[in-house]
């Protein structure tokens, strides 16, 4: 499998504050990769770097043969990286359908359009003309994912999808993941819930204080190792 996106010893800064230290990361086409870690470990920062919201000039970050550090956020979106951001960030002045349509601004070819997204999350048809602010949290999350899909991305970034949602809603939303992936779309998901992350990903990275503390296939990684990498405790049997 060829890598779709690779980051090599990537550093990232907010002003003087360094948030990521030498992160090595790769994802191949069609793969699902989970990023886990405690609050402030750098997961969202990493997604901000991938989408260009946090520029990292001079770093090594390649997507589909393109040097991402050379492109601002709006160009990266056109290249095929779309994100459902943390907190959903829907546009309050826009209706549900308008929010979805805005996602199609990049006009990339692919299976996703208004019809397909509304088939995936049927509730969105019913709520098409509702202001996005009047939706429940789960519905808002569906709009955010649908909006990202409308761009027909090669990589879909899902930041904290389950945050603040009831377990049954979370299950509903994650049940859409196989259909998203069946067209070969790669997925990078940031999750607080380790169990969920392991269940829906092929591989897993654990971030701790801005550094990758663990990496491996989700299916075979030992839960104790994950916990240790997550919380930064020394492994007892090491």
């Amino acid at each position: 499998m060829t890598d779709l996106l690779t980051a090599s010893s990537l550093d990232a800064f907010y002003g003087d504050f360094q948030a990521l230290f030498g992160v090595n990361f790769r994802i191949s086409e069609g793969e699902s990769v989970a990023l886990i870690g405690a609050n402030g470990a750098g997961k969202s920062t990493f997604l901000k770097v991938l989408t260009g919201l946090l520029p990292v000039p001079g770093q090594s970050l390649t997507f589909d043969g393109t040097d991402l550090t050379q492109h601002p956020a709006h160009e990266i979106a056109k290249l095929g990286i779309a994100m459902s951001p943390e907190g959903r960030r829907l546009f309050p002045s826009l209706s549900v359908r308008e929010n979805l349509l805005l996602g199609a601004t990049v006009a990339r070819e692919g299976p996703w359009n208004l019809q397909a997204v509304e088939d995936l999350f049927p509730i969105l048809t019913e709520k098409a003309n509702t202001p996005s602010t009047l939706l429940s949290g789960g519905q808002q999350q569906m709009v955010a994912i649908g909006r990202a899909l409308m761009a027909n991305p090669k990589i879909l970034l899902l930041d904290e999808v389950s945050l603040g949602l009831a377990p049954v809603i979370i299950r509903d939303i994650y049940s859409a993941l196989p259909r998203i992936r069946e067209n070969g779309t790669s997925v990078i998901l940031v999750e607080q819930d380790i169990g969920q992350a392991v269940a829906v990903s092929d591989r897993l990275y654990c971030l701790q204080e801005g550094r990758i503390s663990l990496e491996g296939p989700s299916a075979t990684l030992d839960r104790a190792d994950i916990s240790a990498a997550y919380f930064g405790r020394k492994k007892e049997h090491a």
Binding site: T51, G52, L53, P72, A73, H74, E75, A77, K78, A82, M83, P85, R89, F91, P92, S93, L94, E98, L101, L102, G103, T105, V106, P131, T133, L134, R147, A148, A151
Partner: protein, 288 residues
């Protein structure tokens, strides 16, 4: 009857103020940016109308054809080249740059056109009026202004509600960071907004030239009227801005009826009263 006439003329004048205000409202609504040279750009468009009439001998209303697109292009370029560098968290630079621009424009117009008060004649239209009976009449030009204001606001609202660009502009106004995730270049969108605002400014300038006297120093007062109409109407609503313009126009008309020296003052005072009693304006945008 004279009072009714004063109110009627005030309403029509309000249309012109709404045009002044629509451009300002647009810029603030989308870019959180206030152009202190707004009034001076309106006066510049009025002077361009004068030049157009001198050069072509056509009716001044034809000046809309070259001046509106020209100023739209200029607005786009100005935003991309200069003003986008200033849009950020800190308001001071954009206020200071546009304030400097205001002084530059005023003095350039002073050098070019002298301090004389000017007016552009639209021929027979100048005095044409439609009698309403009972001694009341509405001038064709004031009516034309009012209808233009309604048309412009309706058009802008339609653009916002029903076009892809309008959607993008509203989204940018909501959250300029997240729109970039949708592949939208904020700088391009800001320039589009500025271009739309400049088109309205150009139209307002041409109509002002036909309606009333102007001179190079007349800009700042127009800025103040535009600002007052926006605040009276409530931020974020263009129809509110029209209402604000009408309220300001009526206040001035009634003030002038009491004493010619009171015209402008009456408008300012009504503005201040509304500001104290209802700082969010009369018709603020409702958010869910």
């Amino acid at each position: 009857m004279e009072w009714i006439n004063a109110i009627l003329q005030g309403i029509l004048l309000g249309g012109l103020y709404a045009l002044f205000a629509a451009g300002l409202s647009l810029m603030f609504g989308i870019m959180r940016f206030v152009n202190l040279a707004h009034g001076d750009f309106i006066i510049a468009a009025a002077f361009l109308t004068l030049v157009f009439v001198d050069l072509t001998g056509l009716s001044p209303l034809w000046a809309i054809v070259p001046i509106v697109p020209a100023m739209m292009v200029a607005g786009y370029i100005g935003q991309r080249v200069v003003l986008n560098r200033l849009s950020g968290k800190d308001l001071l630079p954009s206020i200071l740059v546009t304030f400097g621009l205001s002084v530059i424009l005023q003095n350039l117009m002073l050098e070019t056109f002298s301090a004389d008060s000017r007016r552009v004649s639209a021929g027979a239209l100048d005095t044409a009026a439609i009698p309403l009976g009972g001694g009341l009449a509405v001038g064709v030009i004031p009516l034309l202004l009012f209808v233009s204001a309604i048309a412009v606001i309706a058009l802008l609202n339609w653009i916002f509600a029903h076009t892809a660009v309008g959607r993008q502009l509203r989204a940018t106004s909501d959250d300029p960071e997240t729109v970039s995730l949708m592949g939208i270049n904020k700088k391009h969108l800001f320039a589009i907004a500025m271009s739309l605002a400049s088109g309205v400014v150009a139209l307002a300038g041409v109509l002002l030239a036909v309606k009333t006297n102007f001179d190079p120093a007349a800009g700042p007062v127009r800025l103040l009227f535009a600002f007052e109409a926006v605040i009276i109407g409530g931020l974020g609503s263009l129809w509110g801005t029209l209402a604000g313009g009408v309220i300001l126009g009526v206040a001035q008309g009634l003030g002038a009826k009491i004493d010619p020296g009171m015209q402008i003052l009456a408008g300012h005072i009504v503005f201040l009263i509304i500001l104290v009693l209802r700082p969010q304006g009369l018709f603020p945008k409702q958010r869910g």
